[in-house]
Point group: C2
Chain length 327, copies 2
């Protein structure tokens, strides 16, 4: 049997003509036009042990992260969190796991006033499936498809710390103890950029959250918008911990990282003040990293203006021609 | 570590004070008051290989069933299906599985005009998590909590065929080939009672779908309504295939079956004509099986009026004191 990539499989079997939904398969959130004036933003993610997290992760952090990755999708749409459902498969009804897991999960939920409204628990290999619901004024959602030539490209926070933690765990590099605790926390307890997403509604022309690495996710955005981009690798925001690494490791973590859960977004040049104001309102750092161009493809340059090759393998997602259906 | 039951764990860690939701954790669907006049009904279920289905089930039927069990929750609320999300973990990107799985899933979705609007696919032990969304006029949803003393108790279709198929697979009984195909189909391709649920809005005083067996699910309804019931086991509707079994096997399948996905509901005695009309509109058989009483507990009688003991173990769910949180 032919082995197909994840996005191709979804595109092949599950992409349907959009009917009721204002926006269906193919963006960060599914937006349901529930009633005049209000659109529901819905996103689902599934985390599987051994695939998305290791068995040694602290359950409290796992609970946090399981919801955080879903909230990050709402943030990328500029939606305000409302509620979520949780479907949970567990090898055993293990209180020592469930108590801290629920604590981490619900603490983040409370912080965003996002209510657990239902779900399902069953025995099985540890698997966490969350569907989150948010609301956004109809027509106002931030989409992947709105970037236009000339727009600035921005990213929130810093990139690459989660990937750096992974590289340390893999033994590919080393960081000292306190720094490792910081980058590990970035990997295990990402903070969804809800406030920034809300503040960018009406300002950003497009947005996506960085879950699979900047190259892949900005690639999705460019593909959906039908545009190209040039990004200055030296402008990419990074922590002091990452900046202490060799340049090759820095670039790998910045470009092909994954698990960043920052927002990458675009806005017209004349909205620079508005973007700065939104960032201030959201108390979130944003950095201008590049420019949208006409055409297709994603090009990286260093400050000197020379082209920079992206790390091997990091174009996997961008090469996907079919519209990605994963939320 | 203490081992807790599924419902207890959910009640313990995930039950929260209800705020935004018109109806939160604890009913078939979570109902979100999204906008004046309209409430969104949301339900999540997770199916795990080896737990909810065997590896030999035809993928097309598995796709059907994965959505059917969720639609059945909408039916029990009287909600009209709108959309669903799918989170799918697969051991490999196996086209021979995915193609028929998607076919079965989407055929049922199309039949109910229920649109796949998002989701997630990942590598992992075969696990299917679906969240389904429906709409129902605000205040009109069928709840578990509305049964009142004196109400009639009804069930749709027939009960027990799915359990009979399981008993055959376990070698506990035998049925001939064509009959086995029928009861196996009942187990693998349940038909959610959407039309009946819609027709019962404004008529039924309470409803639940039978997914864990009549004893357990009617028990949930009684608990939530704060009432008791007496049910005539001889009145329970059953197929000719089940009726051909020994009485003990019949009762086990009828009472402790599971996977029936029929609706059990209550209505005031003066609504008998309206119930019959709703059944006709929905082209679905409904059978009056008992009566709601004041007090608590679920009692079974045979036609002769003698008390009948429920099959061992079938009171597991009913004994649960905490409000069940599984949708």
């Amino acid at each position: 049997m032919a082995q197909l990539g994840e996005f191709e499989l979804i595109a092949r079997y599950f992409t349907r003509p959009v009917r009721r939904a204002a926006l269906g398969v193919g963006d960060d959130c599914a937006l349901l036009a529930v009633a005049p004036g209000m659109t529901l933003a819905v996103s689902s993610d599934m985390l599987v042990e051994g695939r998305h997290f290791v068995s040694t992760v602290a359950p409290e952090r796992l609970g946090h992260k399981a919801l955080a990755v879903n909230l990050s999708d709402l943030a990328a749409c500029g939606a305000r969190p409302l509620a979520f459902t949780l479907a949970l498969a567990l090898p055993s009804a293990d209180e020592a796991f469930l108590a801290p897991f629920a604590r981490g999960l619900l603490a983040l939920a409370d912080r965003h006033d996002c209510e657990l409204v239902g779900g399902d628990t069953t025995r099985g290999p540890l698997t966490i499936a969350i569907t989150v619901f948010g609301e956004v004024a109809t027509g106002a959602a931030l989409l992947r498809s709105g970037a236009r030539p000339g727009d600035d490209v921005y990213v929130s926070g810093t990139l690459g710390d989660a990937r750096l933690a992974l590289e340390v765990l893999r033994g590919a590099t080393a960081v000292e103890g306190a720094a490792f605790a910081r980058v590990r926390r970035a990997m295990e307890e990402p903070r969804p950029r809800i406030a920034l997403g809300l503040a960018l509604v009406g300002i950003a022309s497009s947005a996506i959250d960085v879950s699979d690495g900047l190259v892949g996710d900005l690639g999705h955005l460019l593909h959906r918008s039908g545009v190209a981009a040039v990004v200055d690798v030296d402008a990419l925001p990074r922590s002091a911990d990452l900046a202490a690494q060799a340049v090759a490791m820095q670039r790998k973590c910045l470009l092909a990282g994954g698990d960043d859960y920052e927002l990458v977004f675009t806005a017209a040049v004349e909205r620079r003040d508005a973007v700065a104001e939104a960032a201030a309102v959201a108390a979130t750092t944003v950095t201008r990293i590049g420019r949208i161009e006409s055409g297709s493809g994603l090009r990286f340059v260093a400050a000197a203006g020379r082209d920079v090759a992206a790390p091997a393998g990091s174009f996997d997602h961008f090469r996907t021609v079919a519209a990605p259906a994963s939320s």
